[in-house]
Symmetry: C2
Subunit: 134 residues, 2 copies
């Protein structure tokens, strides 16, 4: 049975379950940052998903990418499956700006997280949930 | 017409052209590191590829991922489309080890490149070309 990794659970806010992936908002107000977690037990690499699951992942990754572009108008998307710290397969989708604090470097492990205020987080979760469920 | 970005060309060695993507070896002996560049002009995000091209990219990404696992037996793969420095769409596929110099951090922009010796590069290119063409 699928169980979300404890570190991912602690660092994120739940947005929505798509057919394959759980969509999480990283609780870091410095970047619009969504994480897709395929709800499949014991998987650490994209190529460990079945062909059907890989197809579905591709579709959901595209949906989330378009959502980030529509909602945040970034200069660039960063899409990455790293997993060096948390091995449970999860794929980062980050809206990057030339003006953001880490640009042009990658964001991971580069600067301390700045959590959203409770109000902002609640608004953002509601807006993203609505956009994804449409 | 597709033309490889000058920075990518300078930093890498040509391995092979798959049906969609050019496969490059990053000239950094610290990590087994392949880069897929879809031979499509003017594309900076995966979602800008057509549906058919996205399918083909998924297949070629899986092929390259399996090749890295087979040849290098890494602890983890890192697969990432960043493009903050070079905007031409290119997708990193990196074999990571718990013992590598950057672990568990991402490798990009973190430490100076250490180029392969000419002999090692030639051997590696030959071996990878053969494995990809099979």
């Amino acid at each position: 049975m699928f169980k979300l990794d404890a570190r991912l659970e602690a660092d994120t806010l739940l947005i929505h379950d798509l057919p394959l992936c759980r969509v999480l908002l990283m609780n870091d107000s410095q970047f619009p940052w969504l994480i897709l977690v395929p709800r499949v037990e014991g998987v650490t690499e994209i190529i460990e998903l079945s062909d059907e699951q890989q197809q579905q992942f591709l579709a959901e990754s595209a949906q989330v990418s378009r959502l980030l572009q529509a909602q945040f108008t970034p200069d660039k998307l960063n899409v990455a499956a790293l997993g060096n710290v948390v091995s449970q397969l999860h794929i980062h989708h980050v809206a990057r700006y030339k003006s953001d604090i880490a640009w042009p470097k990658p964001i991971w492990g580069a600067q301390p997280v700045v959590a959203y205020s409770q109000d902002t987080a609640a608004e953002l979760v509601t807006a993203l949930k609505k956009a994804l469920a449409e």
